[in-house]
């Protein structure tokens, strides 16, 4: 892979949140929400980021866009480290990177009509010069996202959940971005609406050549939309590779457990399927287990796993695994 191919290149990203305590509210510890993760996304591809709640997947997305200031690490956007930019320089990059959140109810300003929600940023960033031009652009975007342009004067509460998510997508597209973080963008929607939005995201990605970081806990959705997948556990990426590598040739016991835990769609399978049930809960990221973070729930854990944190190993080009027991699963 050549250097130029890497459209998004995240290197050793860390995001620690201080825990305040004591009389003087001094820092007594850190929640290591994201702890030293690195990955790249090629232009025009979709990377899925999966994991359980609290594993740091949303924090990763937000930190990459510098919505939260990172603790450490680099985020190279076409070779430029956006964490090092001044605010004025960053503003230029803001137009290229957008985010769609999970909850379309709380991410739209209830007091603004739809045309302002979608168009506001275009005026601010000088993409359109006046309001007429803005309205023209808003109508185009609404049409593209499956909304009726004649509804542009309405307010968010007049729309259903699926339509609101379409508004959020139209807003994200307004600045002609190249990279969009979809943070559980379909999780809050009804089943029949979910598929509409997934198709919309996929169509837009293909027609506009967008690059997505698709954050989700739903493996079947991730499998459908992604080109590559990273599996997170307690702030670390434990396995990463192409869709094929992760879903068919997984090597990490956590990936195996996640895939096995997802309920099957075929009622006839349940009698003969052997499901791996992980014991226990996700440990707290403020006090992660020593050694391999997964060892408290891992069926393969041995003494080494308890003491030593595994190093990421590239078993195949593009397939990274962080585990002491690589190869045990396939046996």
């Amino acid at each position: 892979m050549t250097e130029t191919n890497k459209f998004i290149d995240v290197r050793h990203l860390k995001q620690y949140f201080p825990i305040k305590g004591g009389v003087f509210q001094s820092t007594v510890g850190y929640v290591k929400a994201v702890d030293d993760i690195s990955f790249t996304i090629n232009k025009g591809e979709v990377m899925g980021l999966v994991g359980e709640s609290g594993c740091g997947k949303s924090t990763t997305g937000r930190t990459m866009l510098k919505l939260i200031n990172p603790t450490e690490g680099e985020m190279l956007y076409e070779g430029v480290d956006i964490f090092k930019l001044s605010n004025a320089e960053l503003k230029k990059y803001r137009t290229k990177m957008q985010i769609v959140f999970q909850d379309p109810y709380s991410s739209l300003n209830p007091r603004l009509p739809i045309y302002d929600i979608i168009g506001e940023a275009m005026l601010e960033h000088g993409i359109v010069s006046n309001r007429e031009e803005m309205m023209q652009k808003v109508f185009e975007l609404m049409d593209k996202c499956g909304l009726f342009p004649e509804q542009a004067g309405r307010y968010p509460h007049q729309f259903s959940g699926g339509q609101r998510q379409r508004i959020c997508i139209a807003r994200a597209l307004a600045l002609n971005p190249e990279f969009i973080v979809c943070d559980e963008a379909v999780s809050a929607l009804d089943v029949s609406i979910q598929s509409q939005i997934i198709n919309l995201l996929k169509d837009l990605q293909e027609s506009m050549g967008l690059t997505y970081l698709f954050i989700s806990h739903d493996l079947s959705v991730v499998k459908f939309i992604s080109d590559s997948v990273a599996v997170m556990y307690l702030g670390e990426i434990v396995e990463m590779g192409t869709k094929e590598q992760i879903f068919n040739h997984y090597l990490h016991p956590y990936t195996e457990a996640l895939l096995s835990a997802a309920p099957s769609f075929d009622p006839r399978k349940r009698q003969n399927s052997k499901r791996i049930i992980l014991q226990g809960d996700l440990p707290s990221p403020s006090n992660p287990p020593t050694g391999c973070r997964f060892h408290t729930r891992c069926p393969l854990a041995n003494e080494k796993c308890k003491k030593e944190s595994p190093k990421p190993i590239e078993v195949e080009p593009g397939h990274m695994v962080k585990c002491h027991c690589i190869g045990v699963l396939s046996e």
């Binding site: 359980e52 029949s192 499998k223 835990a261 309920p263 099957s264």
Partner: protein, 334 residues
Amino acid sequence: MSEMMEKKPLLEVKNLKTYFHSAGGLVKAVDDVSFDVYEGETLGIVGESGCGKSITCMSLARLVECPPGKYEGGEILFDGQDMLKISDAELRKIRGNKISYIFQEPMTSLNPVFKIGKQIEEVLRVHRNMSKEEAKKEAIHALDLVRIPNPERIVNEYPFALSGGMRQRVMIAMALACSPKLLVADEPTTALDVTIQAQVLDLMNDLKKEIDTSILFITHDLSVIAEMADRVMVMYAGKVVELADVNTIFEKPLHPYTIGLISSRPDMSTTSDRLNVIPGNVPDLSDLPTGCAFNPRCPYASDKCREGISELVEVEPNHFVRCYYPGGEKHDGN
């Protein structure tokens, strides 16, 4: 199937109507719903938000707040009694004892200021007239049954000290404490992570075998239904649109809505490029289209569908569908 026919229904719901008189007009949340739950079976109810699945289940033990809700008609025969006719005192003997509930969000269903043990003991002391000591012993046993480690310690904990999965186990322990005949589980795993969801579903399947209770399992997640249910009831806009055993629903769905739901969901084995889609939006119950509520989204809708709605018809043995064109069969005219 034949085995199921011999079993007698534990619960018979006939033409249940639960309406809400709201400021925005009359909302028919549950409109003429009939179904049976047999002994020892799991009936899954699936549908999207606002389809009336939760209100149907809350109606069973008269949990719907009245007003604004009102039971406008129908019968709920449970254990020989009509739940809609019995007195409040009789109802209290049934709630939590013969019918018990597990809800979606375990944190809001547990009282934050009482210890776990006390909350389980309360059920036992009210319904089983146990002494304090007996109830405590039984509570520890109940927690042990749902595979909670160190139940002796957990009875003295408060709900905030437990994780989501553990809280849901406590809810299950509480619901099962009196060995109910019917357990109503309303989206019990929706708020949980996949690995925890797998634990809880596995536990529920084990317990069902151990204590022989019927389960009414409500969810919007078809894959959870595939995992849990023996029979499935699909609801849309307050009405039952399809009812059949689980294999039939997934392999040979006949209502256009069920067909759409099942094919629109990406499966782990989906290979196609695009998902099938049900066009349009979930309807607003206070402003339903005339005729069949699904007609604006249905590819097979004709004028007949816009004017009236079909009865729930048994098209094959034990396979009920409410549609003029089951399976999208060809029809004349428009």
